[in-house]
Amino acid sequence: MKIFKYPCGDGTIMRHDTKSRRRVLREALAVGGAGVSVALAGCGSDSDGSDGGGGSDGSDGSDGGSAGAGDPVEPIEFIVTTQSYDPVRYEFGNLIAENWRELGFEVEVNPLAWNTIVSRTFDEQNFDAFTLNWAGRAERLDPDPFCYSLHHSSQTESGGNNMVNYENSEYDEYAEEQRRTYDEDERKDAVLRCQEIFAEDQPRTPIANQTQNMPYLEDSFDEIVDMIGEGLMSFWTAVDSVPADGVDQISLGYPSDVNNLNPVDGTATHDTQTMRLIYDKLVRIDTDGTVTNWLAEDVEAVDDTTVRATIRTDQQWHDGEDLTVEDVKFSFDYLQEYSAVLSGFMGPLESTSIVDDQTVEFSMSEAFAPFISTALGQVFIIPQHIWEDVPEDLDGVSEPVGWENPEPVGSGPFEFVSWSRDEQMILQANEDHFNPPNIPELIKIPGADIQSLVRLLEDGSLDMIGWVPGPDTVNRLRNQVDRAAVNSIDSHGWYHINYQLDRAPFDDIAVRHALADAIPKQDIVDIVMDGQGTVTHTFMAEVNEFWHNPDVMEFGDDLEGAQTTLEEAGYTVQDGRLHYPEE
C-alpha cells in the first residue's frame, strides 16, 4: 500500500491558483497511481508517514492500509450545538449532513450541550466532525491565535486548540516564522503562506464570518462607535461614543452577567470586556485592528527580544494614588506569577525592569512578534498598593485568583460604582483620565436571554445591546420598530467544521476536499444566516484586511465536484453507501 502525498515543493505555484485544485488532485493521483489511499496532510516531510495527522494508521484498527479497502465508509457522527445554544450551527449542521448523505456518507447529526461538546472534542478528541465558532475578539485580530494555537502541531495535546490533530511540518515552519518576525510585511508573507497550506489541507473547513448586528436606540446617541468582531460590545463604543444631548446614562444589555471582576482571573470574555473599562493597558487594539498606544505613550522594540515602553506621566488610580512605573512592573511580575490566563499572553517574557521613572523594559528569552499586541494589549495594569497585600491580608483566600475584589480600583476611563449580580452594574466616567469617555454613566444590564433584552430595548429601557439577536428579530427591529436601529459590522470570528484527522475517513485528504466541497456555504449565509455573513475559505477573515489571504483554494457549493473528487480517488457508491477504494 502506498501513501501518496501532494508534491509540496512543486505544488506551490498551483496553490496560488484557486481553481486548479481538482487539477492538482488529478495529477497527484496520476503520480500515485490508482487505488491508493491519499494521505495529504503531511506536506513537507516526505519520510514520516505518521505526519499527516496520523495518516491512515489511525484509530480504526485496520492495519497499515487504506482503512479497509473496499469496505463501506464508517458512519459519521456530526456533533452540532443544541438549537437553543446556537440556532445557526444547529441548522447549518443539518443542511451540511443532508449534502454529505448525497455523497454516500452515513451521517448522524448529534446536537449536544456545550460542556459535553468541549469534553468530547477538546479534552477527549473523541469525535468525527463537529461545528465550532471562534468569536472575533479584539486580540484575535493579530494572526497569532488563529495561526499558531489552532493549527501548530505543538497544540495537539488534550485540551489544546488543535484538537483535529493537524500536523504539517511545512505549516509549522511558517506559523513559527510569523511568531518571531517583527517586520510586518515579512510576517504577513508567513501568515499568507499558512493560510494557503491550511486551505489546501482542509483540516477544518471555514464556512462564514458572521455579521455583528447589534441593536441600539437611535435617539440616545449622537454618534455610536463600533469595532470589527466586537460590534457595540467593544471598548471604543463605551469610550468614544457620543450620547445625545441630555442623555447622561447609557445602559448596555448583555445576555449574561459578569462572573467576577478579578483581573488575576480573567477567564471569561465578558469579565475582561468589562474590566478593560476599569483597568488600563499599555496599548489598545484600535477599531481597525492596529495597535495604538494607551497608557504607554511610546512603545519600541529595541531588538528581537527587548521591548521598551514609556509610560504617561501624571496618571492616578481611581482612589487618588499616583500611578507609577513601579505599578507597571509590579503588574507584569504579579500577573505572570499568579494569573494563569494573563501569563499565557506574555509569551516568552523573562523579566520586566525599570529603566527610569517613565520607562519599563521587557526582556524575552526568544523573539516573539505578537508581544506588543498580545502581552501589552492584554495585561491589565493593577495598583501595587492594593494587590501586594493579596492574599495575606484577606480572610479565606488562598490565592489572588480566588479573591472577590469587591470594589475594583483601576486607572481606566470608567470607575466602578456598584454592582448587584444579575441586576445591574454601574460605572461612571473617570473625568481625570487622559481619554475621558463621553458617556457620563454606563449601566450594564444582564439579561436572561437575548429576547428579554430586546423587549427592554423596545420599551425604551435599554440603550444598546452587545449581542447579536436572531435574523428575524434584527429585521423586525430594523423595519418595524421606529426608534430602534441596528449597527452592522463584519466579524473576523469564523464558523467552521472540524474533522478528526486521526480517524478514517478524515485522514484522507480527498475525503476532506469532498466533504468541504459539499458544504453549501452560500446557502448557509443566505438562508440560515439570512444574508448576515460572508462566505470564507480561510481562518483570517476578509474584514481583517491586512492579514487576509484572498488567494487560497476555495471549497464549497459544489456537490458535483465533491462527487468527482471521491470518484477520482477511487471511492465507489454501492446501494447509496460510499465504499473505500479497492486495493
Binding site: A113, W114, N115, T116, V118, S119, R120, F122, L132, W134, A135, R137, E139, P145, S149, E157, S158, G159, G160, Q249, S251, S256, N259, N260, N262, D265, T267, A268, T269, A340, V341, G344, E399, V401, G402, W403, E404, N405, S418, S420, R421, D422, E423, Q424, I426, E441, I443, I445, P446, G447, A448, D449, S452, L453, R455, L456, E458, D459, S461, L462
Partner: protein, 326 residues
C-alpha cells in the same frame, strides 16, 4: 404509638433522607460531562490555565476525598465558594432566594386563594354551565406553556396597553444595594412584579382548582352536609364553614410539594420576565459546572421539600384527628 415516638422516628428518617439526597446530588453533578473550565475553552483559556484551575479547585483529588470534604463542609453549615464568582455560595444564593420567594410566593398565594375558592364553587355548582366552563378555563390555563402565557401577558399589558414594564426587577438605574427593606419594600419592585405574578398564578391555579373541586364532590355527598342543610343554615355558611374546611386536607400535601417549587423558582417565568431568580441560577451553574452553587441551590430546594413534607405529616394529625400515628 404516641406522637412523640412518631416524631422521633420521622426525624431519624429525615436524617437518612438527607444523607441519600446529598450523596445523589454529589454523584449527579460530578457525573455530568465537562468541568468548570469547559465553558471558557473557546474564550481562550489555555490547557495549562485549565489544569491550574482544576487543581486549585481541588478537582484533581480522588472523588471520595471530594465527597467527604463536601460532607464535612455541609455539616459545618458551609456551602463553599463558587468556582466562577469567587464569592461564598451562600451570599449568592441568599439574594436569589429572596428574589424568587417573593415572586413565586406571591404567585402561589394568589393561585391557591383563587384556585381554592374557584374549585369550591365549581364543586358546589355541579352540572351547571358555570362548572363546565370553569373546568375548560382551568384546563386551558394548565395546558398553556408558561412561556406562552408569559408572552401573552407581556404583549397585552406591557406592549399593547403600556401599563407595566416588560421585565427586570426594578427600573434601570434604581438603587439595588442596601438591606431587605430598601431592596424589596418599594413600589418600583411591586410594580415590576405584577406581570410575572399574573403569569405564574395563571399557570399554578389549575391544580388547586381541580383538586378542590374533586374533593368537594366527595364531601358534598357526605351525610353531615345533608344534616347542615336540614338545619336550615344559609348556603354560603355550609359551603365555606363546613364543605370547604373538610375538602382542603389533600391540598396540604400539595402545598408542601409546591413550596419546594416556590424556592426552585420557575426558569421560564424568570427568563421571560428577566427576573434574577433561583431557577436561572441553577441552570447557569449547571452549564458552567459550578458544582458548589449548583449543589447549594438544589440542596436548598430539596431541603424545603423534605422538611415541608415532614411538617405536612405532622399537620395532618392536627387538622384531622382521625389520622393515627403508627
Amino acid at each position: 404509638m404516641g406522637l412523640q415516638e412518631y416524631v422521633v422516628r420521622r426525624l431519624l428518617q429525615l436524617v437518612f433522607t438527607f444523607w441519600v439526597f446529598v450523596s445523589i446530588l454529589f454523584v449527579l453533578f460530578r457525573a455530568a460531562p465537562g468541568d468548570p473550565t469547559s465553558m471558557f475553552v473557546t474564550q481562550g483559556m489555555s490547557p495549562e490555565a485549565r489544569e491550574e484551575m482544576i487543581s486549585r479547585l481541588g478537582l484533581d483529588e480522588p472523588l471520595y476525598v471530594q465527597y467527604f470534604d463536601y460532607f464535612g463542609q455541609l455539616l459545618t453549615g458551609e456551602f463553599g465558594t463558587s468556582f466562577r464568582y469567587n464569592e461564598p455560595v451562600w451570599d449568592i444564593i441568599v439574594v436569589k432566594f429572596w428574589n424568587t420567594v417573593l415572586l413565586m410566593g406571591t404567585a402561589l398565594v394568589v393561585a391557591y386563594v383563587i384556585g381554592i375558592t374557584f374549585g369550591a364553587l365549581l364543586g358546589w355548582y355541579r352540572d351547571s354551565k358555570f362548572e363546565r366552563g370553569g373546568i375548560i378555563v382551568a384546563l386551558m390555563a394548565r395546558s398553556s406553556p408558561e412561556f406562552w402565557t408569559g408572552i401573552l401577558v407581556l404583549s397585552v399589558f406591557s406592549f399593547w396597553l403600556g401599563l407595566f414594564p416588560s421585565g427586570g426587577m426594578r427600573t434601570i438605574g434604581a438603587t439595588t444595594s442596601g438591606g431587605f427593606m430598601t431592596r424589596y419594600v418599594n413600589w418600583d419592585f411591586a410594580y415590576h412584579m405584577v406581570l410575572p405574578v399574573i403569569a405564574g398564578a395563571i399557570y399554578y391555579m389549575a391544580t388547586p382548582t381541580l383538586l378542590m373541586r374533586n374533593t368537594m364532590l366527595d364531601v358534598l355527598k357526605a351525610d353531615f352536609i345533608e344534616i347542615k342543610k336540614a338545619e336550615g343554615l344559609p348556603e354560603h355558611q355550609i359551603l365555606f364553614n363546613h364543605a370547604v374546611r373538610n375538602s382542603v386536607l389533600p391540598l396540604v400535601t400539595v402545598i408542601a410539594l409546591v413550596s419546594g417549587k416556590a424556592i426552585g423558582g420557575s426558569l421560564i417565568i424568570e427568563t421571560v420576565f428577566n427576573w434574577p431568580g433561583m431557577g436561572r441560577e441553577m441552570v447557569q451553574s449547571i452549564n458552567y459546572n459550578d458544582y458548589p452553587v449548583a449543589m447549594g441551590t438544589f440542596f436548598l430546594m430539596g431541603s424545603v421539600v423534605i422538611i415541608m413534607n415532614f411538617v405536612a405529616d405532622l399537620a395532618y394529625g392536627i387538622l384531622d384527628p382521625r389520622v393515627q400515628y403508627d
